[in-house]
Amino acid sequence: MDYFFVLMLAGMSAAMVAGGLAFSFLIAPHRPGAIKNSPYECGEPPIGQAWVQFNVGYYLFGLLFLVFDVEAAFLYPWAVAFHGLGFMAFLEMGIFLLVLILGLAYAWKKGALEWV
């Protein structure tokens, strides 16, 4: 079963993260202080809560990312089946991508890609 390796990779990466955390917890000295416990120890003193209201621009970027994420999901079956399909499959995917590039162009034109 191919997925056994996925399981092994997941287990090993989880073990590495957990092992690193556990090891540093075991050997590191514990002398907490007010400054050490502050979120930005080596910079500005923190102001206000971490949970502030986000700018709507983040949501737009998230939305655009999600749309192209879904597009990428559709590229996989196309790419896997590409050898058995002819030139028409290439054209069909070209149209698919062109429509989405129109969306990207619209977002660009409307300034949704500008960092505000």
């Binding site: 056994f4 202080g33 007010a34 502030v52 998230g62 999600l66 499959a89 429509v99 949704a112």
Partner: protein, 208 residues
């Protein structure tokens, strides 16, 4: 093909983890912890899809749901005013209604499970790698192909982009491009975790 016993063990492991992580999503006080647990729940269901030999669906689950939807949910919550969410203490009526709704959903789920015949598919295993099959069906322009729905998907995604931009652009306050905070009510009362004197004391300690 995995042996039947280990198949069962892995299934129950994934199912139990999914249930535990779902409980963590509901009970987490911090939004980001709930989001990470939600990623775990969705990954476990991706594992269940793999066990059903639906490898493409599992890939989409990880790519779109774990990687995209959860991030979007977090952004959506972060966009709202969060102070009310933090001190959300539901009224007893809302708790009762919530319990009734949950029990009704449980009853509906159990009812569907009991009334479904759960037909086994005619073939014991998929003919071939189903990602290839999906690709061939999606791009087949002959009879029985799905090329028109495939192209319409791209139009649907285009509509999502345009709709999202139109809606989000409208709500943005004019002349105030970035909310850095600082002039919000309540932030004036914030005290840093240490005073300037303590800071200097600690710096001296570090120098020694």
């Amino acid at each position: 093909m995995i042996a039947s016993a280990s198949y069962t063990v892995i299934f129950y492991l994934l199912a139990a983890l999914a249930v535990l992580l779902s409980l963590a999503v509901v009970n987490a006080w911090k939004l980001l912890r709930a989001a990470i647990a939600l990623m775990g729940v969705l990954s476990m269901s991706a594992g269940l899809y793999v066990m059903l030999d639906a490898s493409f669906l599992a890939g989409v689950q990880v790519l779109v749901y774990v990687g995209g939807i959860v991030v979007l949910i977090v952004f959506a919550v972060m966009l709202t005013r969060s102070a009310e969410l933090l001190q959300d203490n539901p009224a007893p009526l809302r708790k009762i209604l919530g319990a009734i709704a949950s029990l009704a959903f449980l009853a509906a789920t159990v009812g569907v499970f009991r009334s479904s015949p759960f037909l086994l598919s005619a073939e014991k295993a998929p003919l071939r790698d189903n990602t290839t099959l999906i690709g061939e069906k999606l791009l087949d322009y002959g009879a029985g192909g799905y090329v028109l729905p495939f192209e319409i998907i791209s139009l649907l995604l285009l509509i999502a982009i345009i709709g999202g931009i139109v809606v989000a652009r409208k709500t943005e306050p004019q002349g105030q491009p970035f909310t850095t905070g600082g002039d919000e009510a309540g932030e004036a009362e914030f005290r840093p975790p240490f005073t300037q004197e303590e800071h200097e004391d600690e710096l001296e300690l570090v120098e020694k």
